[in-house]
Structure formats: C-alpha cells, structure tokens
Chain length 368, copies 2
C-alpha cells in the first residue's frame, strides 16, 4: 500500500500519541477531525492512527494539519460497544484497540487514546500493558468541574472495576494524588472518601477500614485527608481527589452529566421562549458561551487509566471532534510531563507506605 | 399553659399533618414560616406542631395564617444531626421527632413531616409505625426533575438502607410503582434498575438476580420493566421509576443536587459578568425564573418513607421556609389521596406476586 508511505510521519521531534480510530459511536471521521484540530493547535504532537486503512487513508489525505504528522497502521478488527471484555481479551488481537495499545507497549508512543468500549479497553490494557508493581486494581480517573480553586476535582474509580475493598480504595487515593499533582499541579492535594454522610459511623464497613488506612498514609504520602465526603462534594471545594469504587463512581459521573445536560437543554428552551428572552440570549451570548464551555463535559473528555505500565486515555464513546480533541490534549499533557514514569515511582514508594499502614491497621484493629 | 389552649385547632374538617418543628438546620422559625406559607395557600390543611412550646407558642402567635389551625405539642428533646439512629431508638422518647410520629401512629394525623436526622427518623419510624406486612426494608423515595412527560421521575432508595439484595430491589420497584401511580398519576409506570451499563452482563450479581425478579413480576403488577438504566437516565426519559440501593441512590441524589447548584451559581456569575450580560439577565428574568423554579431542589423537597404503617415525609435538613412548604404540599397531596391505604393494599397483593417470582426464579436459576 503506497498510501501508507505517503502518510509516514516526517521528523522525529515532539510527542507521539497512539490513537484507536475505530469503535467510537461517531466513527473514524470524528476521530480524524478531532486529532486534526489538535494538530492544528499544537505543532508538537504527532500520531500513530490505528484502524481500517482504506477509510483512514482517505480521511487523513484530506486533512492539511495532519500532513506528515500521522502514520496509519492498518487493523482489520473493531471492538464493538457490545463485545464482552472477556471475549475481547481472547480474540481481540488484530483489532484497532489492540494495535493502539501495542504502540505504547513497544515504546513507539507514550500515551494511547481510544473512544471504544471501556470494559474491553481496560481488559486489553491490563493484559498488554500489565499492572504496575504494587497495584492490585487499576482505576479510571476523570476531571470533574468543581468549586475548587483549580476548577476541577479528580474522581476515581469511575468504572474500571465494580468492586473495591479498603486496600484498593487506599491505592486509588495514592494514584489520584499522583494524578492531581501532575495533571492539576497541586502540591498537596486534599483527598476525600465518598460516603453517604460525613460522620464516621456512617456507610459500609469497607469504607471505615479505608478511612483508617488512608488517614494513616496521608502524612508520609504528603496529602491531606479530609475524611468522608458526600455526593455534593464531587463538584464542591471540600477535596481535590474523590475516592470511590467503580460502581458508585460510574453512577455519580453519569448522573452529573445527565443533570448538566438536562439543565443545558432547559436553559436553551427558556431563552427560546419569548421574543424578549431571545433578545436576552443574544446580549448574554458571550457570557453564556463561557459558562457552557466551563460545564461542557466534552471539554474535560478523557478518563485516564491509572496503575498500568503506560498511560491510556479513554475518551467518551459518544465523543465528537471537540471531545476527541480534548482527550488528545489531556494525553499530550500527560505524555509531555512524563506522567507514566512519575506515577510508577510514586506507586512504588507508596506501596511500601500502604503495606505499613495495612499492617499497623491489622495490629490496631480499631476504627479511629 | 394557657398558650396551648390558644393554639388549639378550631373545626375538624380538612387534612391534619403532624410536623416535627425541631432538628432542621434552620431551626423552628423556618418550619413555622414554611407551614404558615402552606396554610395561606391551602385552606384545607391543619397542623399538629411538635417541639419546644416556649419557642413555638411565640412563633405561631405571630403568624396570622396559622390562627386556629395549629396545635402545639410540647416535647423537651431534640434529635440532633449527629445522633446515632441506635441511640435515638433507645432514648428518643420525649423528642419532637418521636412525638410527631406518635400523632400518626395514634391516627390524629395522616402524614408526618420532619427535617431532622434521616437515619434517626427512619429508625424511629420503623419502631413506632412498624413495617407493612410483606415489606422487609422500607425505602426513601424522591421526585427528580427529568425529561419524562410528567416532569419528574421517582427514585428509590436514596438512603434508608445502605444495602439491598435482589428481593429488596424488587420490593422497591413495587413500592415505587405505587408511589408513581398515586403521586404522579401514571397508570403504567416504566421501571428501570440502576446499573453501570444497560447490557445484561454488566454490574453486580445481585443486580442480575433483581433484573430477573422484576422482569417476572412486571406483567402481573401492571408496570413496564425497561431493564437496566444508567446514571444519565435518572434525569432522563427512559424510566419513570429508578430502582437502586440506598448507598448508590444517596450518592446519586447528592451528586445531582451539587451539580445543579454549581451550574446555578456559575449562571449567576455569567450574568453578572458584564454590563451587557446584566441587561440580558433583566430581559430574560421571567424565563430564567421559570427555569430556576423547575430545577430548584427546594421545590421538590421531600423524600417519602415507603413501606410503613403510615406515611412520613423527610424534608431536606437544610430546608428553608420554601423547602418546608414544598414538603408540606407533598404531605398534603399524599394524605388527601389516601396514599397510605392504597400502598398497603398494593404491597399486600404484590407480596404474593413477589413470592411467586422469587420461587420461580429459584426453580429456574438462570439469568435471562
């Protein structure tokens, strides 16, 4: 295929991201439009694009910003949203998702981006990239618009695993701290543990154990533990990192998104209601656009898989070009900051701290 | 105390509600202001008010709408937000909360309203009112602004119990259907089971069992089962009744409230930003006020305890007069419609259906 030659990247400087072009709800055209938008804004970024080369060759050839900055790797298979993770682990070789992870595994790219099936992507990432030493369950972390000074909180896990015990929650806290430090530039992040009340006697027993473990680790791992927080604190200013299991985190994330989307639509209706309100919407256009940008979930699109040998950014399945571009921006920032290596170093030393905390909790046995 | 004589209710017609005046974050003045607002709008409603009579006498005496429509019952004790439910169950006699429930238990009032400690109120309600025959765990149901034609969805449990097994979730479905039928006038409500994905293989095992049980009961109990729904469907139009455990439901509720509140504040900021946007906010005043009313959590203030011999409305702890008034309105509507007796009848017949479904599920044993 000569077209593949034409699409070879020229030059070697900058950051290389590995992109799964297939599997999103909006198809490869949205993905290519998204990375083209990123390429236009950022001269440092280059791509390895994985998927059906017959389709991708044409899309990339039409894009000026991608000329000489995008290499296409053909992959026959596509992981669909309905595929079970276990099937994909057995039969996923040859899919664009598999291929995208291989580029990170082989060191050709620093970060992989996919908007495909989350469960399958996590399962394949675990198999191909492997967990970091000391991590028992990787987690997906997202940024959530909030009242905190930095404008966002980190929440994890939002769906890597539907269960988490006290030790897992402690590890999520440590990984979330590392992400907040590198992604949000917070020296000493505040960590909160999600529960149904802030009183210490409330909630499930594994949360009481996790409360104790995280509290004991905070000082050595250089973060502030604010104790239990509630759902209202996820968009609040009580903590920078919200720790929870993947079931609760996933429901909270989608509830928040759904609520924001409902309000956005009702606001649009309100402004279309009368001639006067239509004039008002014109006058307030800039202010409303700024607000809309602040709460647009596409702008903070991209869950990050934490706890693997390599970083994977999971874009929303329904992401359009704007969403993909936001995910690419996040991937670039993490690649550039050397996040994978920093997290690895932190988890290695944190694993020792955690082990100490677990042991002393076992000896102590009380919930204080 | 002669003042108590002065505050006796005159006449006997209308609906009597039993109000716990203490224990809310805003104190008894907000409660009295809230019931006064309701009394002003609704000539049918009368109150038995429980709490510190020295304080309440003065507050009620100053309120014209409450003249002759509010009886004060002195109670020395107040259940605080920090009290553990187990303590309140043992030592709660003599508190305003206990006294408010006694009026329902004794048949003097149809519905009780409190904005005190939720856990304590549920614990006391279970002890004093007792569970309905056939109900193993009562639940708290709320109305959630949504895209459904009726403008609201019912969600339960939002915090009565942090755990629920498959049979509990089935019972929540049946109680939620009854509430939607009486509270929202829906003939054949659509029921969804909250999960982290709509595919049948996703989520925890108790959810797969509940999926089967609820599906088998739907036809006989005259509701439509739409299967698994996600967090985004809580404010959506996929189901009218969202069933989940009290931990997940409580986190979702508070996340939704927190998100709405953040957006409201950002909107206010956006309109205060420039002279042009300030003019715009004046022009759009009516439209924005309508929107604000639609998503104001105070307007749908009031979780309903389902599954007890008597109805209890739990108002938000932070409720102000507007919030209290909304809770009173809901309590009145339920009292007037004879909801307690209707739910009792439905649960009794549903208990048989449920027993059949559980038995046939046990014989079947597969997840289809």
């Amino acid at each position: 295929m000569t077209s593949q030659q034409d699409q070879r990247m020229t030059g070697t400087s900058g950051v290389v991201l590995s992109i799964d072009a297939m599997g999103g709800d909006q198809g490869p055209a949205a993905v290519v439009a998204g990375i083209a938008a990123s390429a236009e804004k950022n001269p440092e970024v280059r791509f390895i694009l994985h998927g059906d080369s017959a389709v991708l060759d044409k899309l990339v050839a039409k894009s000026k910003p991608l000329a000489g900055r995008c290499e296409i790797r053909h992959a026959d298979g596509v992981v669909s949203m309905d595929d079970k993770p276990s099937q994909v682990m057995r039969h996923g070789k040859g899919t664009s998702m598999w291929s995208a992870l291989e580029s990170v595994r082989d060191g050709e790219a620093t970060v992989a981006v996919s908007c495909g099936n989350t469960g399958a992507l996590m399962a394949l990432s675990m198999v191909r990239l492997r967990k970091l030493p000391g991590v028992s369950r990787p987690a997906i972390a997202i940024l959530w618009p909030s009242r905190s000074p930095q404008g966002f909180n980190v929440m994890l896990d939002v769906g890597a695993d539907i269960r988490a015990d006290a030790k897992d929650l402690l590890q999520y806290a440590l990984m979330g701290v590392s992400y907040a430090r590198n992604g949000l530039a917070l020296e000493r992040p505040r960590v909160g543990l999600l529960n149904v009340g802030t009183e210490e006697h409330k909630g499930r027993s594994e949360l009481h154990d996790a409360h104790q473990l995280i509290g004991q680790t905070a000082e050595d791992a250089e973060f502030d533990f604010v104790g239990f927080v509630e759902g209202g604190d996820i968009p609040g200013n009580a903590a920078d990192v919200i720790v929870t299991d993947g079931f609760t985190g996933n429901v909270a994330l989608k509830t928040g998104e759904g609520t924001a989307s409902l309000i956005r639509d009702l606001l649009r209706e309100a402004f279309a209601y009368s001639p006067l309100s239509r004039i008002a919407s014109l006058l307030a256009f800039t202010s409303l656009k700024r607000l809309s940008k602040r709460i647009d979930p596409r702008r903070v699109n991209g869950g990050v898989f934490l706890g693997l040998n390599g970083t994977v950014v999971k874009s929303h399945g329904a992401a359009d070009a704007t969403g993909i571009s936001a995910a690419v921006k996040l991937a670039f920032r993490l690649a550039e900051s050397g996040f994978t290596d920093r997290l690895k170093a932190r988890v290695a030393s944190a694993a020792e701290l955690a082990e100490d905390a677990v042991q002393s909790a076992g000896e102590d046995g009380t919930h204080t």
